[in-house]
Subunit: 196 residues, 2 copies
């Protein structure tokens, strides 16, 4: 057998993902990728293809490794509205403080960037999973009598998903986390049954 790669492709892809996430695809040059990963251009192109392939692979990693676990946790959390509240609390915390503060959500950012069909497909899947997570949490809430009667679960799930995009968008520009929390609370309060 011939020579093998001298690096872990997924570990490198994670560094690339973080770079594109923070700075955006168009604003990030191959030279920066080379610097951040320590790889040479040859290894980069041989492993991932050109810049656009690299971006799509990084975005796919983001969606699968970062977003989806959150969405599945939301789906599987049977508490109902408290599960949704916890989702937004953790989201806003992650978006406004710590290592990834003001990076926004890579998928939300990607909506504004290009029109690449591969990217669009990833974003549609991302949205479907997010909405499905919200839908599942809302169903649990309804089953426990937490919801205002007559609430449309599908429409409310869409609303909550769109709200998450709004949080992601504004957090990247440095929005006040308390304002974002108030917005999320308003959504939950308006779904909640009045006299429980």
């Amino acid at each position: 057998m011939p020579d093998i790669k001298h690096f872990d492709p997924d570990e490198v892809l994670e560094r690339v993902e973080r770079l594109f996430w923070q700075r955006g695809a168009a604003a990030t040059g191959i030279a920066e990728v080379v610097a951040a990963t320590g790889l040479s251009r040859s290894s980069l192109y041989a492993t991932y293809g050109g810049k656009q392939d690299l971006y799509v692979k990084a975005l796919r990693r983001y969606v699968e490794q970062r977003s989806q676990p959150m969405f599945e946790a939301l789906s599987g959390d049977g508490r109902g509205l408290p599960a949704i509240a916890a989702f937004f609390d953790r989201l806003i915390e992650a978006r406004c403080a710590g290592e990834h503060a003001r990076w926004g959500c890579m998928a939300t950012n990607a909506n504004a960037e290009g029109t690449d069909p591969d990217v669009r497909r990833l974003l549609d899947r991302h949205h479907d999973r997010l909405r499905a997570g919200m839908r599942a949490a809302l169903a649990a809430a309804e089953a426990q009598g937490q919801l205002r009667p007559g609430a449309d679960l599908d429409a409310s799930a869409e609303l909550l998903a769109l709200l998450a995009y709004g949080v992601n968008t504004r957090s990247r520009a440095g929005a006040d986390p308390d304002a974002l929390r108030k917005g999320a609370s308003a959504a939950l309060d308006s779904l909640r049954r009045e006299n429980p």
Copy 2:
């Protein structure tokens, strides 16, 4: 008096605005601006400065000439919840069909692009105006007894503003307008008084 400009600076700026709006700042080259406007590089640089200045001026024009009139119409529309419903209807229609379909909102897109302080200031003002418009419409709704009792007007205004960002974000990726409408309706329904 010496020679005067052979073009209307604001008319040209509008073409530039549309270019940056549709394609994004980073993805648009000066060569495209030259082609779209018919101006020469000299006139462009003499009138607006470099690319970043040009982008900021275009974004300012967008916020002032396109967004703010909508926000003021919302503020001044005394109907309450129907005013908010009309706002979202028109928003979704404009984002998904017609000349600007799938362009998103230039200000929402700008959140994802750079971290330029001038841009951020514009976006903060944009957000304040949007939220203020929602707040005014909600106050009118409350005055007319349309609102669920106990609703927090400030928090609900923030929620509706964030929802608008979500609509803008997803519409750029080609979201189904009916899904967006359902999301907006869910927000309004959950604010509405149950037995009017």
